[in-house]
Symmetry: C5
Subunit: 250 residues, 5 copies
């Protein structure tokens, strides 16, 4: 195991004298499923496996460099047991951290049924609203600490991209107006064009699943919705510590 | 294993003084398939496995908090052996219960080929009919005790959502009128928008498969049917006790 | 193992005094594939496995209650080795019989890549033809004993169901006229609406594969063909005794 | 193992006195992938496995009855290692031969990710050209001995079948004219309607992959191409002896 | 193991006296995933496995004959761990090299979830631009040495091929003009028509993932984009030595 702090830490600090331009972040939502064989191992072995896995997650929580937020999906998906949301600055860190995770003993009993990478970037749709959506920090993700997160990859139809920017703005304004009716839902949009299969990965943080259910059903009636090509799979995840998330595995 | 009764029980009782608002329920249809290796285990071991699994199911039958109804799909699907229908009030309970189920020895030999979560909510289509569909308890599911249940996830086309509410009501009225011609079929509709891949999960309880067959074929001719995007997979399940359901595994 | 004859036998006989109404049958086409590991077992073990599996099939051949017809697909599909066509009267019998089959030692080495359930029912299209298609026994399936069977699940487009019954009759008449040009092909149509993923399961019995090939190619040119949504996978199966079918496994 | 020569040989010879009508052939392209576990076996065991497998292939090369041509796909597909092209006269021989192949020790370590069956028949499009396409032997396949074969299953849209035969002939003539510009490519067309998932299986033999690449790209611009529903997966295979093909497995 | 240098080397040198025509190259992007079981092996065994695998890769780096470039996808895809980009002159070399790779001990623990083969050829669209796109060496791929590569298979709609060459040129000119706005992205286009499932495999080399993200999003708005049928899966890969790539496996 190499010490990740050295190289990434340097990368995270702009050289003196440079204008403090906002750096784009690299984002990953990795979903893991434990193989049934793992559940048959002796308890002591499983405890040691979970401990080593947790240590790698924690090692890679480095302020200003890399952050991991952990979620359980046990009982909410049949095909995934946990989700690690990683926010850092380069795909190299992504690779190094995952190599270390999978090199733990638990790695020999995990599959990754879903895995999305993306980046932050400023939106095309500057809509003149004075809220956090418009802030200069738009190209950073700041997780809000809510109990649940709802994640899905997202593709628009090609017809969408042939609309004029003006037409798309009108549709996005309606979309955002609807979203503001559920203020307890916090949206994080990230971009995957060319980096992964989907175009966007969206992650909604909220303490109230019923709010998100109502919002998504209401959004079906907006004009922009007709330009959705695909927005599945959809994941409901419960935020908890890495230790709690791993204990849900058995 | 934590005792689920404490935390959820509190959640299930509104604080004194609050108006008795109907709480939305959280619903799960989890389909399990036993791995072929399990069938090769000694009989005594399999009996112990089934016993431990059954105990968790029964532990989570807590009046007012959580209910599990058990079905066999052996011989009715090639890719699933059993279905547990869980009705409770939070996704947290869903997670905790499943973690306990999968931590039993049988959990090391199970896959979950299908898994749907959803919530109850009032319908948009208040149609002025004086039957149970319109009752104030619409946001609760009350299983009817019939011998068979027919379950499927469901997506409408985006064109549906762009119809006016008035147009949709006309189509839903026709749909419901057709349904009333088969009064021995009881419908339970739940909502998954944003929580899981599908938009709806519908579950029809009936003692007469031929009734349901006729109803579904007849519904193909309604106007609303043209707005169905996808309504598969479809599951026929036989209600039986947890012990009977597990004995069908071998 | 319970004795299936008692319960189903009662169900199969209408009570004295009732009019002899034709009962709808429940139908299943179950496709099995042996796991590669099974082929590595000692010969004596494999022979015992096949013997026990065959005994369950034979036990469930009960005149008036349940019938099993056995087919090999070895060499005709890469993903299936055998097919059991079961015709009985309730899904409960389906479940019980399959539980017994899978509880044999061979069951620990089998997967079921395809599995279709359906029911018989009278056709909507009474076409005034004086052949077996129109007979009063239309809601029973009577296998014809031909050497080959060709099976596929079938979905029509929603546009089909929005045609008037009159329009559909015209299209079905053309379809049937074409079929009559290949009189050596016997068609069995069954209905799955709501019971399983597909709408129909069709099974054509014929001693001449080249006849069926020509018929299906010719049917592509009928008007009804444009309303086919999906009609795959398609299976060619060779009828043989259960013992012969099992010997093809190795 | 039964001796295949007896029964099929009889079938392959028309009775004395019958007119020498061309018999339709039954064709199979079976793709195999060796399981990773096989590669871990001791070398001597693997050599014995390959030897037994090869003997079955060779046993079923019976002039006038059955022919097997062997190809390696190692390094050309990630999901297949070898392809056996079998040409005989009945599906029964297909089944018997595959049962014998899979009963060898190598059979316990093989999967069949792709498997296509079809038959030869005369084309509908008699185009008045004096080449082999029009020969009286059109309903037999005669492999040409080229080094490479390119295989794919093929479906036309239903719109194609609603064109008049005259319209289709015009389109097929253009298609054939384009094909004749690459005379080093030899086409074998076979028919699967109702026998297997696809409508056609086409196999192009050629010593020059770059010719076939250019031909397929050029064919995209023909009128008939717009009526292609699906023409994947596509396989590039290298002809070699059974022994060489098996040695590529490791 | 045969010595690859002999046969291919001959093939790579045109005979004396021939005009130095540019030979088309054969290209492969093979993606590997290590099976979880491998991670459970003793460290010494894993080190030996990686060493033997690396030696085959290096053996097949033969100037003028075959070149392998190695990438890690650990942490960037959930379904692939590494990618080997092979550039040579015949599919026979492709087969021989892969047979040798998979015959190493690591081969017994690898799957190949994605695998694309293609060839180089001159573009149809000679656009009169004086850059490398137009150079006489267009039918060779010359990897640029950038740190990242972004790879995807690609299909155009059939409607595209029915446009006139003139219309397509106009659309391709717009496409290329957009691409030139991101000069730090280097495009390699290869052709798979008939050789593999996709029509094209494109590989973009770039040191700046954010550039590629912006380029792909911007290309969505071009006229040619509406003629894209499918362009997934999309892979982000990090270039590193074979030894480093293998060390990322654990």
């Amino acid at each position: 195991m190499t010490a990740p702090a050295t190289r990434p830490a340097a990368a995270a600090q702009p050289a003196h004298g440079e204008s403090p331009k906002v750096r784009q972040q690299t984002v990953r939502f990795a979903f893991f499923k434990v193989m049934p064989e793992w559940r048959r191992l002796p308890l002591a072995e499983r405890i040691a496996h979970k401990q080593a896995f947790r240590e790698v997650i924690e090692k890679w929580n480095i302020p200003g460099v890399c952050r991991n937020i952990t979620y359980s999906t046990v009982g909410l998906r049949g095909d995934a047991d946990m989700c690690i949301w990683t926010i850092c600055y380069t795909v190299d860190e992504m690779g190094q951290m995952m190599a270390e995770l999978m090199a733990t003993p638990l790695g020999g009993y995990l599959t990754m049924p879903y895995h999305f990478i993306s980046m932050t970037k400023r939106s095309q749709y500057s809509l003149g609203m004075e809220d956090e959506v418009e802030a200069e920090t738009r190209s950073t993700v700041r997780p809000g600490g809510q109990k649940y997160i709802f994640i899905y990859p997202f593709w628009k139809t090609r017809a969408w991209y042939l609309l004029s920017l003006e037409e798309r703005k009108v549709l996005m304004e309606e979309h955002i107006r609807v979203g503001l009716q559920w203020p307890r839902v916090k949206l994080n949009t990230t971009y995957s064009f060319g980096l992964d299969d989907q175009e966007f990965v969206v992650a909604f943080e909220c303490n109230y699943p019923e709010d998100f259910l109502d919002l998504v059903q209401r959004l079906r009636e907006t004009g922009a919705s007709a330009y959705t090509l695909k927005d599945t799979p959809m994941f409901t995840c419960i935020r908890m510590t890495a230790a709690e998330m791993l204990d849900r595995l058995g």
